[in-house]
């Protein structure tokens, strides 16, 4: 192991902190926006609560426009916008901005998918009581689809941790960048696997939490 953990452990700890920060903000902000977009997809889809072909197709187009763009190209393309919004085109925050955008698009799809198998009967019950579309979403659709939603966000959590490895592209730091530059690129597998191990432990804990919450939400 070429990396001297005793002397430079600070760099490693900082990388952990950075990853947590990236994941928290990108998943927090992107996940929330994605929830909104996903709900909108669900509501406007043909046969949905408020079918709206124009909005639905527009959203579909938008999401599918951005999602398949290779992330490194997306980061570069967003550069000017990132600069305008974040104030810099490099660094952790400059990574979080495009990452959160990508998370929004991905989570929109997962949210839509979780909602789509909802029992129409319960939606109808709420409608019959005069609940507005928004109220139905908030008090019926989301609570009823909570188990798949929790699993979807757990999935996203792992995806974002994975994605955060790319933060190094714009000097964003984090565990992934650490593993790449101190381990992988130096062909130092000890450092690589140690870092990966930390990531895995983080991810496992969150997955356990997610599974447990989903089970509670199912109440069976």
């Amino acid at each position: 192991m070429k990396f001297d953990f005793a002397a430079n452990g600070g760099i490693f700890l900082e990388a952990i902190g950075t990853t947590l920060y990236i994941v928290a903000v990108a998943l927090g902000v992107g996940g929330l926006v994605g929830l909104g977009l996903g709900v909108l997809l669900f509501v406007t889809r043909p046969g949905g609560l408020r079918p709206n072909a124009i909005l639905f197709n527009l959203l579909n187009l938008l999401i599918n426009f951005f999602r398949p763009i290779p992330f490194i190209i997306f980061i570069a393309a967003m550069g000017p916008l990132t600069l305008a919004v974040v104030g810099s085109s490099i660094g952790t925050n400059a990574f979080i901005f495009p990452a959160a955008l990508m998370v929004s698009f991905a989570s929109a799809r997962l949210v839509e998918q979780s909602l789509v198998s909802l029992d129409p009967g319960v939606v109808e019950a709420a409608r019959s009581m005069g609940a507005s579309t928004w109220t139905i979403i908030r008090t019926v659709a989301i609570p009823e689809a909570l188990a798949p939603l929790i699993l979807a966000y757990t999935f996203l959590f792992v995806a974002v941790v994975d994605m955060s490895a790319l933060a190094g592209i714009v000097a964003g730091g984090g565990l992934g960048a650490f593993a790449l530059s101190y381990g992988y690129q130096r062909f130092d597998w000890a450092v690589t696997w140690l870092t990966v191990a930390v990531i895995v432990v983080l991810v496992q804990s969150v997955q356990y939490l997610g599974n447990w919450l989903a089970r509670k939400a199912l109440r069976r």
Partner: protein, 275 residues
């Protein structure tokens, strides 16, 4: 264990009808020249295009490739040491200068205290960039820093600037939001930078630049292969060097060392790294 890569029947060898050569950036025009010239010699060459520096060497080691050309001797030395590998250079192409650019400042002296400089994030280029910045007074390195320098070798208290390692390509993109960027030569031309605008660059003619000679690399077993030796001559064909020069906006310094010379330098670098 059993079935080691070198004995694998599918391994690419110098005797194959088609010789596969790994490069990073096959879109550069010199590679079209290369394959054409090889065809003239009756050798069928397949250029394999990599987008990442880390993979082409293991691919030669494990026999997936016959040869590669993308790295300088320092990077190769590092690879050999780290992986107990014995890849050898059999031809040289050029030394590319590494230069510092800025869109805000016109001289090194103008760069303010505490500024950030973008540097490539792969180990050897990062090290070279750190050395460049140190030589020009922007950084102070700690005692005993060797040929490979990293962030931990920077005496942050004594340094004027800090470094931000990032994707080599991204250093150019970062220019608007950072005081300066050390840009790999590969990107200078395509990014529309003018080498003349560089604030500082290292001197390819200086002997200390020898580890940065770019080389054509094969497995040790293939070091004396006839066909590969024939291929190696193409690197000094005038058409090829012209294409190379054009691609680097005439900043590349063509180097023509013998394989023995190159292998000697490599051995030097490796031993200094190991020590």
């Amino acid at each position: 264990g059993c079935g080691s890569p070198s004995s694998d029947t599918t391994a690419a060898t110098a005797d194959d009808a088609v010789i596969s050569v790994g490069v990073v950036g096959a879109s550069s025009p010199e590679w079209t020249v290369f394959t054409d010239k090889a065809a003239d010699l009756g050798i069928d060459v397949e250029i394999r295009d990599f987008t990442d520096y880390t993979t082409p060497n293991p691919a030669v080691s494990d026999g997936s490739l016959t040869a590669n050309q993308f790295q300088h001797l320092l990077y190769l030395a590092r690879y050999n040491l780290d992986n107990n590998a014995d890849l050898v250079p059999i031809a040289s192409t050029a030394i590319y200068p590494l230069a510092l650019y800025s869109s805000s400042f016109t001289s090194v002296d103008a760069i303010p205290e505490g500024a950030q400089i973008a540097v490539p994030n792969d180990e050897t280029n990062k090290s070279r960039a750190i050395h460049l910045l140190a030589e020009n007074g922007l950084l102070t390195l700690t005692e005993g820093t060797g040929i490979i320098a990293a962030e931990e070798n920077i005496d942050t208290a004594a340094s004027r600037v800090s470094v931000a390692p990032m994707d080599a390509q991204q250093t150019v993109t970062a220019l608007p939001s950072i005081a300066g960027a050390v840009v790999n030569n590969d990107f200078v031309n395509d990014a529309g930078l003018d080498p003349a605008d560089a604030l500082v660059e290292d001197d390819p003619a200086d002997p200390s630049a020898q580890p940065y000679i770019n080389v054509f690399v094969v497995r040790a077993a293939d070091a004396d292969n006839e066909r590969l030796a024939q291929l190696a001559t193409i690197f000094h064909d005038p058409d090829f060097t012209a294409a190379l020069a054009e691609q680097s906006a005439d900043s590349a310094v063509i180097v023509d060392e013998t394989p023995e010379e190159l292998q000697a330098i490599l051995a030097d670098v490796q031993s200094s790294l190991a020590g």
